[in-house]
Symmetry: C2
């Protein structure tokens, strides 16, 4: 009762080509016909696996946005940990195709539940890493347990995404440092309070 190996084989082969087409030529170029030409798989077979363009796109989105397993650095101090983790996030936006695919997924997510799940799942994943960094800082006593960690996580992640995808401003190292400084400033509101 094992699955026919031809199925997994064509799926893998087709999705690999889909991914390449999406990254090279954009969302609009990702059609059943294009994948057929790239792989030799017949168009009708592709339609049997993905009933329409949306399904093919979503499957490719999901493949690209598959969460990586980052083991975040949490040995402190907070500023260094954040710089390290957000640095990885920024690198992904700058140097991988995720920077150009993410906006497509986000745009699709307004009307497409599958795409919505892809992007929110991806972000939930990233958030958990940032959360681990903050939690470690709390446990070290570096920041108070009353710090608005969820808000801070949103600010930490939204900043780079907005700057890159909306403002189209470069995500430089110095910008990231200022961004992290600001977040730390929020996490440690009273810089030198002698009453404690």
């Amino acid at each position: 009762m094992v699955e026919d190996p031809r199925i997994t084989q064509t799926r893998e082969k087709a999705l690999a080509a889909s991914q390449e087409i999406l990254l090279e030529n954009g969302v609009l170029a990702l059609t059943h016909g294009a994948v057929s030409n790239a792989t030799g798989i017949s168009r009708s077979t592709l339609y049997r696996h993905w009933t329409d363009v949306k399904a093919l796109r979503d499957a490719t989105f999901r493949r690209i946005a598959t969460p990586q397993n980052i083991a975040p650095k949490t040995d402190g101090p907070l500023r260094a940990d954040l710089l390290w983790l957000l640095g990885i996030l920024v690198d992904a936006l700058n140097e991988t195709p995720w920077g150009s695919v993410a906006p497509q997924v986000i745009a699709a997510s307004t009307s497409d539940d599958e795409a919505k799940q892809v992007i929110t799942g991806f972000m939930t994943d990233r958030f958990s890493f940032v959360n681990a960094v903050f939690q470690a800082a709390v446990e070290r006593g570096e920041i108070g347990s009353s710090a608005p960690i969820n808000q801070l996580i949103e600010v930490a992640v939204s900043g780079p995404y907005f700057r890159k995808l909306v403002l189209h401003e470069p995500l430089t190292k110095s910008w990231l440092e200022q961004h992290v400084d600001l977040i730390c400033r929020m996490a440690l509101p009273v810089s030198n309070n002698p009453s404690e």
Copy 2:
């Protein structure tokens, strides 16, 4: 040497219909044919005005994203001013079609210079309002002139956008209050410093 009134008339009529189609049925539904059906203007005429779908989309984007002239409240305190201004921004995301169109413009802006100009122009406009609020706070002496205002503006605006368009979480009044609190906390790092 006046412009033929037919030109401006068809442009206006077509763009009004384009906007409606875009908002009602999404980007993909915005075609020359659809506008032709909605207006009675012939398809060939529409092609004479907008050479391809991209041009039609961009023109409609620009029409929707046309900057409004908000006269921001700047009489302080900072928290109230920010709450007021970001409240307008949040309302636009929640209750106008901008919430569903913005992601399309943003997605298009990665590969389309016209769309990029629309979205960056729109944001530059919004940023100037937030900037006015911060500048007023500086002049009142409520925050120091060394506060990283540009960073704060980015954080202030990116938060609602990211939460709505990427996370698909609701932009509630209480969330906005927390968001503004966080920003004020950044602008006023030392909460009660008796040395001044």
